[in-house]
Symmetry: C2
């Protein structure tokens, strides 16, 4: 279904809102304390309760009548249902949110089904079975490689042949707004001395985007790249908080572990691939040509403007990074095809993130490690203060949106978290 840029809703959507009728992102919210969470859709300043629409039988797809995807406290069932059902629901919501619809004309239902977004608690949109983090920005991999190994060995030999990734920790994925405690851990600041234990001194963020898996695959069977898009439910912002000193000491030879697993924050609204379709474009040229199982003629990049801002305790927000999802070398489709090519099974609700998204110029780097070049170039803040890495009380916020030529934005809202002092600190 092409999204009509001129459509409007009976819900008043302010100019520049992330959530016009062309977006309709899915999330899970709790209307008030003590009440069961349920799926909803963001529209302007409101949330529309999907369980209320379902209980009034406003979706007439037989699978929805049978499986009640909006009854539970997660979107996993809906994610599992696949593109036909997703399209049906999107079309129906587009109708229902216009003037004169069944919903618009039913004051009683409107009263029950709409909530002010500021009054509700947003939860994780899915039960995340497994979380995978990739490393798909050439600029980020080159920057990190240069910082740690020098420019001549910056990119590892495998990097341009496959989307490098690793398994992350699913239990510590938290919704936006959850405070993040500074982790303690083992580090070795001086190679000639034994390692030491204490709070990380190099706490960082990573600006990423992730996708939630729709229908999964059976163990032992792959998802071919030309069918990968049908298995991608939608996208969100991801902050892969990182403790660089813990990571640096632990990660050889099995990869990042406790330096990353203390928290990963996701934005609460999942933007569907249908809403992002007008912003799909060609990505960077891939040279060498990927192997067949990673090759597709379908463009897989998206023009999504991304920002990170840092707000010191009691201070004002400063934008420290401006970048774009379109810089990514490997696409989400390639990530999913690669992940499953050996028969690894994915399940509805699994989260896969892009890795830090950095662009070509220094203001577009998606981590403090790169922005300050391992602390060599501090970022100035008000009143003469500066930052190399995150301090207690800092609040780090990601945001992003795609902007249509006709003026509307398909936005992702915010992905934010405040740094708490270390345990016992």
């Amino acid at each position: 279904m092409p999204t009509d840029p001129s459509l409007t809703s009976f819900v008043d959507v302010p100019a520049g809102s992330h959530f016009p009728i062309q977006n309709l992102p899915y999330g899970v919210f709790r209307p008030q304390e003590g009440v069961m969470p349920r799926p909803g859709v963001a529209i302007g300043p409101e949330v529309l309760d999907l369980s209320a629409l379902q209980s009034r039988a406003l979706f007439d797809h037989p699978q929805i009548a049978e499986r009640h995807p909006f009854s539970g406290p997660t979107l996993n069932t809906f994610m599992a249902m696949g593109p036909d059902v997703w399209q049906h629901v999107r079309e129906r919501l587009t109708e229902l949110l216009q003037e004169g619809s069944d919903l618009h004309e039913d004051a009683n239902l409107r009263e029950r089904a709409f909530f002010n977004r500021e009054d509700v608690e947003m939860l994780l949109p899915a039960e995340i079975g497994d979380y995978t983090d990739f490393y798909c920005s050439e600029e980020h991999a080159t920057n990190v490689g240069t910082i740690f190994r020098g420019p001549e060995n910056a990119l590892n030999p495998n990097w341009k042949h496959l989307p490098v990734g690793y398994h992350g920790r699913a239990s510590s994925v938290v919704p936006s707004g959850t405070p993040v405690r500074r982790p303690c851990g083992q580090t070795r600041p001086d190679d000639d001395e034994p390692p030491v234990f204490g709070p990380t001194k190099l706490l960082d963020f990573e600006l990423e985007m992730g996708f939630f898996v729709g229908p999964g695959n059976r163990l032992g069977e792959n998802i071919p790249i030309d069918r990968a898009a049908d298995h991608i439910f939608g996208m969100a912002l991801v902050n892969d908080w990182s403790a660089r000193d813990i990571q640096g000491w632990e990660y050889v030879p099995l990869g990042p572990f406790l330096g990353k697993s203390f928290a990963t924050t996701v934005s609460p609204w999942i933007v569907s691939m249908a809403a992002l379709e007008p912003f799909r474009q060609a990505g960077p040229e891939q040279d060498p040509e990927p192997l067949d199982y990673l090759h597709t003629d379908r463009d897989g990049a998206y023009d999504i403007h991304l920002e990170a801002s840092l707000t010191p305790a009691g201070g004002t927000a400063k934008t420290i990074c401006t970048t774009n999802f379109g810089y990514l070398y490997w696409t989400f489709q390639q990530q999913l095809a690669h992940h499953t090519v050996g028969g690894c099974n994915v399940r509805p609700g699994d989260l896969m993130a892009s890795g830090t998204i950095s662009g070509p110029d220094p203001g577009s780097y998606g981590s403090l490690l790169e922005l300050t070049w391992r602390g060599e170039n501090p970022i100035p803040f008000e009143a003469g203060s500066e930052r190399t890495f995150l301090e207690d009380g800092d609040c780090l916020t990601l945001t992003g949106w795609a902007e249509h030529d006709d003026g509307y934005r398909v936005g992702f809202g915010e992905c934010t978290g405040e740094v708490l002092p270390a345990q016992g600190g």
Copy 2:
């Protein structure tokens, strides 16, 4: 509760059985097709249905009456309840399985509650939220390091300071007996040529043991080492199937990914730490002294005999490895204390595995990579055949038991899987 070595059950337990009354391991079984799975306990050749005992109110602990831990298709609720409840259930089962007990004297209940182990289907014992794999055998890490980097750089600098580990893939953990499809993937057999795609040529097993987490911890709070034992529900055998050529090409810098995530097999019976208590002993000396958060005076090793055998298609089984859990350098308590020290939360049912368990002599190496020294020393099989790595149709079986001086065995049963040809192959 000390386990009395002289106790016997009214169930006839053959000499040498893995499952005498001193063991009582927990698992989840399906009595027959189409019937709901439920928790059970192995006793000799039988399974005792815990849901049947629960529905007759034979456990009088108030938490069991309230939370019904044996009603669902997993052990997660029971795992979450902690050592007091575990001890109550173990004591009660020990009573009920003796002559003259309420169970023994109730022919009708016995008829409903006992099943022949050979007639039931064993499933995963828990819903595994996250799966972590450690690398805790010094001999294994040294062997692998020597094979890939030479003897002078065999152990990485961090190895003796912390239990190195990585996040594994939870979705592809399967119960014993599940066939394992040979994975396809990207490899680079010749460094001067581009990488190629195809079925792995270096399919391997890894002999490991794992533990299931009991009560979890909150995000941001750690489990101190002296309380770690209370968070460990029990142990099982684990085969961390590995594709060495895929792993070798992909793993720098983020660690193992598709070379491991196509399948991990666990044995179905979880042996409680109470049953293993008579076999607890001191482990290898740890030098240098671990940092405080990893230090404990409580012995954390266990004397558990372990074996791996390989059965070629149509052939007979040959034991290819004989080793012992007691060789491990880092204990499960240290693994759990380390995993959570930065505030990473673990949840009931999480699986943590030891990494390959190798001993000092070549017959005790826990993988084909080490046993054949990367294929240099093939293992002879009948009729002149030999093995360097696994072939299609091979069946790999792990087994293990602790043997008491008084003659009984606390065993783990088997962890087995047959290699299927690659997809499309």
